[in-house]
Amino acid sequence: MPIALNPGFVLLLAAPLVLALPRGLRPPTIAAAAFAALWLVLGRDFGVAGFVRQMGVEMATLQLDALNQVFGIALLITLMLIGAYTSGRQNRFEDAAILTLAGGAVSALFVGDHLILFVAAASLAGLGATWVVFASSHPDAPRAGVRFMVWHGLESLFFLVGAALHLVAHGEAVEAHIDAGSLSGGFIFAALLIRAGAPLAHVWLKDAVSRASPAGAAALSAFTAMLGVYALARFFPAEPMLMPIGAAMIAIGAFYASAEDDLRASAAYAQIAHIGLCLALIGIGSRLALAAVEGHAFTIIIAFSALQMGLGCIVQILGDARVSMIGGVGRVAPISCACLIVAGLAVAGAPGFAMYPTLTAALSAAAQWDTRWLWLAFSGLSAVLFAVLVLRPALRLYGAGAAQPAIGKAAYGMVLGSVLGAFFCLAIGLAPQWLFGLTPSELTMSPFAPDRLARQIELMGAAGIAFLSMYVFGLFPRERGTSLADLDALYRGPVAGAGRWIGIVALRVFGAADRAAEVLSTRLGGATGFLMRQLDHPYRPRLASAAQLVALVGLILVAALAGRL
């Protein structure tokens, strides 16, 4: 008999357990919890179960349908890979944080349409993600964690306000979809855009990922922004605003991914671009587009986690994963670098690798005159990422010249996790039909049809030749250890300064009002005391005595008149 338990709860229960376990048992526990959750997902038929009544509202803790099943399977497979990956280092707090993050995200997936539970679970996932960043020993991790917490806090409050307003207007469950133009819908939409890394809020992902540990980066790339994609697909399908937003994310992501020296940040930007692709598809809203979103989200989760795991191995070896530092590492760590290249090819959508089938589905969905620019952006993205996430690092990894001195070695568990990630990147790419079968409207197209295959390999071939030529002739900037400013420089600089200035002015106004009130109350107290002392000598011929007499007479007159009336 299928158990009516939200699979995410299994992960949440495992989180405190992991804190108490010895090192050797933690990775198997993570993997076992993920396996148990996956078993719960696959062992149930679609439908609603686990009803509870909270605050006068009936909610279901488990709602399984084709949409959340796809996302759930991807997340849980990724968690198993991360479980293997974490065996390469010792950090019980990070293990618990990863399980909390994963548990919150998976729980949010499977509460379906119930907004309040979704908000609670998504916020828990956000707290878990914050903890993952804080658990890193990167010197800048605490400040990055605080910045991440600000974004998460803002998102949680938008969720709370939106859910409250939705509760008043429409009740707890979302029947079909939410109107982004309504007040409640607007708040929820804003919160989900922050979660998904939309422009203006796109900086948190690269900030968090580049300061997290290798395992933390893989977990953050899988369990954070992708929940936003899921929720947008569920609550805002065919929302027209998502198309330009998605296009902007593709442009911003591709721009920064091309220029970043830190490959982990570059990968995060690439993920932003792919998430933008998903958002644009949600905006298109046709059956094919929504099916393509689900498939593409699945492959994003797997491929980018694999990429971050591969980069994490490089971090373990060199101390960092900057293009300027990785020269010659391919000879020192061949397996890790091979996994990195495989993941890069998956992310670029090379035929035979994970994202190729879903990218072709996305291209098919956008292949209309009205959405031709989106189609162009999708195509261009694939070519850009092939150049910057495959060719560019490969040229350095396998380049001539002495290798950087290694300061460590990638642990067996980390290499194992990377290899498994690379395996899935290949498996999905070579046999995508099982993934297509999971999507709600089955994708019936064949990704290996000659025209699609031809177009993609022609695209990548031309991009490669052009990029290599420009690279060899020095048109691509020489690799240097630079950091690039993004909008967060604006937030941390002028915006924070403006906020501080407003706060200082407000506090000065408050302080002045407070001092004035204190002066007034002191004077009033003094005057009252003086009057009391005067009234204490009623027989002394003073003005106060006369005033007292007049007041008394007046009171008597008023009472008499009132009595008459």
Partner: protein
């Protein structure tokens, strides 16, 4: 340390050339459905690819020129 930029480019260049040739050949040889716009016509993918590569190079140059921070970062990433 200044290293040669062309060292590992050779094999990748050959691979990309093979991909380009294969793609163009397959595109013209196979029975292709009518394109919905000029960008989807046979041969256009090569132009898009080259344009994308140019975008990547221009982006990198622009970003380094306008947005690069001063000095080199020296903090290591977390290795735990």
């Amino acid at each position: 340390m200044k290293t040669s930029r062309s060292g590992a480019a050779g094999p990748w260049f050959v691979l990309c050339l093979a991909l380009l040739a294969g793609g163009i050949g397959l595109e013209f040889a196979a029975d292709i459905a009518p394109a919905f716009w000029v960008g989807a016509k046979p041969g256009a993918a090569a132009a898009i690819g080259a344009g994308a590569a140019a975008f990547a190079v221009i982006s990198a140059n622009l970003a380094r020129f306008i947005l690069a921070g001063r000095g080199e970062r020296s903090d290591d990433a977390d290795r735990s």
